[in-house]
């Protein structure tokens, strides 16, 4: 198996181009130096693929964690407190689902200070995804919290004089824990796909960082693949990973 740590990469990181091993040889074919060929700038495709895999696979769970935390907080509070608060939360969820998110992403991209490092911009991209991806889980968590609210043990706790915050933290949340885990794992493939979509549109991870979506840009003309079929490898990897997640996870409610 490939070692995804920086030191393990056989080739120099694709962002530092002062390495003599990176040839000024675009679309290079020599197998021993560049097993998957080089891209249009002479950067080794295998190295870029490894780096892109690292970014996509390490930061998608981070975004999923963030979005699950937000959804857990909002959803359980809404379901538990019910009434007006629940209606407001659901309305806000609907609103943020309906908004075209690309305005926000364009804005954030343009507002970044110029000397921010590419890694920071990647982190910000995934932060944005996490902050915008919680809506799908909120409804499910809200419905579950509503169910817990009517259960006996909660009635007992409330009648013993527990404060709502304590109830939420110590009684409702632990019962919903398995649901939180499920939502977390379900969100990961969704975020991998979202990142791919955004990067293909140019709003996600930017050059010179590599990511799966990034490596798939400019695919409209598939005849280029005849010349270099290895360009499809990021897509194949992405599909395999997402399929694995989906086949292992339980099928859930249809979400966006």
């Amino acid at each position: 198996m490939c070692d995804l740590s920086t030191d393990g990469a056989r080739h120099h990181p694709p962002t530092s181009l002062s390495c003599p091993a990176v040839s000024r040889c675009p679309q290079c074919r020599s197998f021993d130096r560049h097993p998957l060929g080089t891209d249009a700038l002479g950067r080794d495709s295998l190295a870029r693929l490894l780096y892109g895999t690292r970014i996509s696979l390490l930061l998608a769970p981070a975004a999923a964690l963030l979005s699950t935390l937000i959804a857990a907080l909002l959803g359980s509070a809404a379901g538990f407190l019910g009434g007006r608060f629940e209606r407001i939360v659901l309305a806000v969820t609907d609103l943020s689902l309906a908004l075209p998110w690309l305005f926000l992403l364009l804005t954030v991209r343009a507002m970044l200070p110029l000397d921010v490092s590419p890694m920071v911009s990647v982190i910000i991209a995934f932060l944005m995804m996490g902050l915008l991806g919680w809506q799908a889980s909120v409804r499910v968590i809200c419905a579950a919290a509503r169910g817990v609210r009517d259960s006996d043990f909660l009635l007992l706790a409330r009648s013993s004089g527990c404060k709502p915050a304590r109830l939420l933290l110590y009684h409702v949340a632990p019962n919903l824990r398995s649901l939180f885990y499920a939502q977390f794992w379900i969100s990961i493939p969704l975020f991998i796909l979202t990142e791919a979509n955004l990067s293909i549109l140019g709003l996600g991870v930017m050059e010179p960082m590599a990511s799966w979506g990034n490596l798939l840009r400019g695919f409209e003309d598939f005849s280029a693949l005849g010349a270099n079929p290895w360009r499809l490898v990021p897509l194949v990897l992405l599909v395999i990973v997402v399929m694995c997640f989906q086949l292992v996870l339980p099928s859930q409610e249809v979400t966006q």
Binding site: A91, L97, L99, F103, N197, F219, E220, D221, F222, Q256
Partner: protein
């Protein structure tokens, strides 16, 4: 409660809900427009880089581009114009927004409806075939197939559609289909395993009769709710797909508006998109709640 009172109550609640939806949609449009207004690059145009312009012309250009009034006043004027049916004029297309929307909404509506049609047809077909042959081979292959489609980013689906000369609605259908298929399949399986359906089968009822008289009535409510959700998915997917396939619909309009910071267009497009999504969601909610007792 008499029938008349019930009817008027329902009408009132429907109207209240509609009003609430409209307010939400307008609110969403304003949030989105505010973001754009304060985004870097607002009021700046590529043509400023043309060296043939004289200094006075550039000044005049800039004056015209900036909003002379503050944002709040602009929204007020927009709302009052909206009451008269005037949606303003687009900065980047130089045409009334109403005309632009009138040309593009049917294109998107067409693609979405046809895409949904394909997706539902495909899901229903595959699910019923699965019911007919409950073998593990068929299950495994259909699951693999829909998983494969689900794992393709919608942008890649759009690019494939361009390459294969497939129409836009086909791409939308391919994106929605796998999400439907799983749910429809599990729903149908659960309905068929209900005790009364089993009893009907034991009594030797024809499969057609079983389906239409016993299975469909139970699964209809959640399927209706699913219809609403699938509509929002299709509509949401239509925007990036149309932008990538360069189809002259609402999606491409939204994309162009965002890139060129066209404030009047963004307000209106967000309003329409939010309204459509809310309406679909509410209908789905209503359908779900109306039949909430009978979900298997």
């Amino acid at each position: 409660m008499s029938k008349d009172q019930k009817a008027t109550n329902m009408l009132h609640s429907a109207l209240r809900r509609l009003l609430f939806l409209l307010c939400l949609a307008i609110g969403g449009a304003f949030v989105s427009a505010t973001l754009v207004r304060f985004a870097p690059g607002y009021g700046v145009q590529e043509r400023e880089l043309d060296p043939r312009w004289s200094a006075q012309s550039i000044e005049a250009l800039r004056q015209k581009q900036m909003l002379h009034e503050g944002l709040a006043l602009y929204y007020l004027h927009y709302l009052s114009a909206l009451a008269h049916g005037d949606l303003g004029e687009s900065d980047s297309f130089k045409r009334p927004v109403r005309e632009l929307l009138r040309q593009r909404l049917p294109v998107t509506g067409n693609s979405v409806v046809r895409g949904l049609g394909i997706a539902w047809l495909g899901a229903a077909l595959l699910a019923s075939l699965g019911l007919a042959s409950r073998g593990w081979l068929y299950e495994a292959s259909s699951t693999a197939f829909s998983s494969l489609l689900l794992s393709l980013p919608s942008a890649v689906v759009a690019m494939l559609a361009v390459q294969l000369r497939a129409p836009v609605f086909f791409a939308i259908g391919v994106v929605v289909f796998p999400r439907l298929h799983r749910y429809v399949r599990s729903l149908l399986v659960r309905s068929y395993d209900q005790p009364h359906v089993l009893a009907a089968r034991a009594r030797g009822l024809a499969s057609g009769a079983i389906f239409f008289r016993h299975v469909l009535p139970i699964s209809a409510p959640p399927l209706l709710a699913l219809l609403g959700v699938s509509f929002t998915i299709a509509f949401g997917a239509a925007i990036p797909i149309e932008a990538l396939c360069d189809s002259p619909g609402l999606g491409q309009l939204a994309w162009q508006a965002a890139l060129s910071r066209d404030l009047p267009l963004i307000v209106n497009v967000t309003f329409i998109v939010s309204l459509v999504m809310f309406a679909a969601n509410s209908l789905a909610d209503l359908a779900g709640r109306a039949f909430s007792g009978s979900t298997p």
